[in-house]
Symmetry: C2
Subunit: 237 residues, 2 copies
DNA sequence: TAGTGGTCTAGACCACGGA
DNA sequence: CCGTGGTCTAGACCACTAG
């Protein structure tokens, strides 16, 4: 490299990342083609190999490169790019939209786990969990409908929480960090009860997000979130 | 640290990541609390500071830690976790499910860009783009309905492609790497035409994914994907 | 201004797996 | 086997910002 053309805008690794990405996008390095190895790039850019390694690992995680020992680094043939989105606390989500947040606990009980949730959670059907239904509001209009099952054995202390004032989402985020989570997006037509709670009409199409979390002592909670019609969830990259 | 208890299962950085995560989850280090600085942890674990740095940066990206110069590293108060999912090529997605893939190009034309897409793309309404509608099938049953606008100025060479044999998704992935993408999930009721093409009934709730991609010469493509009823999109962590 | 994380380096050794 | 990426180290300097 003769000289850094653009403003670095970051460190050397960031510069190398951008430059390599540019070469891929501009087709200087073509799909499936092997690119110079770390030592060569280190020499070209005048940096240590560790710096090149960091840059290339970022691009590999991003899906633009395939790296294998001995085989070298190649431009990915079918770049399987990853998108990510953050999972915000409902209250913050509502307040970020400039609305005032409130929520209402519709029901809470200890109930045997229905079959349809048992497999997902990895618990036997019939095991007694805490079952909650709640609605989250923005400016008094329904924003999200929540149907949640909580495994009390994974969350000691939950029995004593009053969820009329603290919503379960927030309490769990702060008190039950998870190791693994799974999210499922789907769509379904609002049932009669869903429609009433969301103050919309039955058969309305709803975006559904199912989220289940685990830690090393087993499943923590599974929740079905039904969003108000028109809600759009955004992810980037 | 006296000794590594568990099987390392990775390098030292991976071990430190797991151990710190464990201390957070087990509440040895509480929310908002400051944890020892990198030098101290390096001494505790008997590793170089760079190794601790790498481990803590992973946890910070994951959202479990807040790190600031001079202020040190703290356990995040509201862990905003990120979930990610990969954006597969439709054909691979279908074949991964054990079905045989086929697709059908419904229409292709050069059309002025409607107002509703103009803002999203950052192009003036009325600019002439390529407009395509296609259906992707798994075992001859409709899997996904695609409504796509392509900016030919961002993708030289696209005019000569015959999309009856190559689907646009695949061609673009291989020939038009993007710098930035935006994804929007929503739900809507199937219109008459959607229902016919997806071989389902009108008013059926559909999961909709809008994806728009850009590179440094502007927007590349925006596409609305309507999935067959019952389809579930999964993301993890 | 001093303490903390951010980054880089030159070198080393190791693990994987293609040739 | 042996070239490649994966990881670690000891040290250095820098950038930010809290006190």
């Amino acid at each position: 490299m003769t000289e850094r053309e653009a403003l670095p805008s970051g460190g050397k690794a960031a510069y190398i990342t951008e430059e390599v990405r540019r070469r891929i996008i501009e087709k200087e390095w073509r799909q499936g083609e092997r690119i110079p190895d770390e030592a060569e790039l280190a020499a070209e850019f005048g940096v240590a190999r560790a710096t090149v390694n960091k840059a290339l690992q970022m691009l590999a995680e991003e899906g633009l490169l395939d790296r294998r020992r001995r085989a070298g680094t190649r431009v990915a043939v079918n770049p399987v790019r990853k998108a990510s989105f953050s999972i915000p606390i409902v209250r913050e989500q509502v307040e970020a939209a400039g609305m005032s947040y409130s929520h209402r606990l519709i029901s809470q009980s200890r109930s045997p786990l229905p079959e349809r949730h048992a497999a997902r959670l990895g618990l036997p059907a019939g095991e007694v969990l805490i079952h909650q239904r709640a609605v989250h509001y923005g400016d008094r209009r329904p924003f999200q409908l929540e149907d949640r099952w909580i495994n009390p054995r994974a969350v000691p202390g939950i029995e004593t929480v009053d969820f009329h004032h603290m919503n379960a989402n927030e309490w769990l985020v702060r008190n039950a960090p998870y190791l693994r989570a799974e999210l499922n997006f789907s769509a379904c037509s609002a049932g009669v009860r869903d429609a009433r709670l969301l103050e919309t009409k039955p058969e309305q199409a709803l975006l559904i997000l199912n989220r289940t979390t685990w830690n090393d002592s087993g499943p923590i909670t599974t929740v079905r979130l039904a969003f108000h019609p028109g809600y759009v969830m955004t992810a980037t990259t």
